[in-house]
Symmetry: C2
Subunit: 130 residues, 2 copies
DNA sequence: CTTGACCCTCCCATGATAGGAAGGTTAAAG
DNA sequence: CTTTAACCTTCCTATCATGGGAGGGTCAAG
């Protein structure tokens, strides 16, 4: 399988596949005589795994850990769970921060007439010393 | 006022102040004979405004628009409100996406024993074709 | 044998921020 | 007056994940 086909069936771009190889997230693939990378189904599975983890907001560093756990038949599920839970805590924090932002903005926006007049509480709100 | 003092009272680092100048977000400041940037209270206000907007998740491009509205005594508050509301919609989307991620992870994590055994539903979940 | 769709490597860009090197300036303290 | 410490300057580099493009080689079908 050439890289383009793998890209299609894993939803990871060729750019990214080569990049993941270059940073050691996936192994270097064998090449044809002319230098084309050759892949197998196994590689598609791994890339799908990576893609899915990215979609769930894991960083490549976290994914690196997940992959090594995935590869390791001896790992304890507790290790995986720990990683997942720390990521959940991370997500909770980011959600809370965004929600705070949103609420502040909504408050400012609802107090704004939104008409042709230049006076706007949003700008006052932003200008206020925090 | 030198740049360091401005940085302290606006909570924007000297690095960032120079950067904002270089990308044209703030005007180039006058200099002393020896080349030191000189600032006034007005500049501190503007930087605080920028800082606060950053804290609310506005991008520098959005802030560029906000600043030009702030500077313009003729602007309509409707313009500002429109900007704020589009940003709120943006935040809502990001919050929803993160919440989805979180929920998926929580589901996976609760179904994981988290013990010494190697079998882990989290990894199965990640490996499943999306 | 040409054409078009692949593939290769290498460099550059994004957005927001930070770190550091190498060197000039200022103010206070000796 | 000189030393010293805390400032300031510019310029280069890095981060993280991704994408764009140039310039060139390869492969399969018409």
């Amino acid at each position: 399988m050439n890289i383009g086909e793998v890209a299609k069936s894993s939803s990871v771009s060729t750019k990214m596949i080569r990049h993941y190889e270059s940073i050691g997230l996936i192994r270097t693939s064998p090449r044809t005589l002319s230098g084309y990378r050759q892949y197998h189904d196994r590689d598609v599975h791994l890339l799908r795994f990576i893609r899915r983890a990215r979609d769930l907001g894991f960083s490549l560093e976290q994914i690196r850990q997940l992959v090594s756990l995935w590869d390791d038949p001896e790992r304890a599920s507790a290790d995986v769970k720990r990683l997942a839970q720390s990521h959940i805590a991370d997500l909770d924090q980011r959600i809370a921060a965004l929600t705070d932002m949103r609420d502040t903005l909504v408050t400012l926006a609802t107090s704004c007439q939104g008409d042709h007049r230049p006076d706007c509480p949003i700008l006052h709100g932003l200008a206020a010393a925090s």
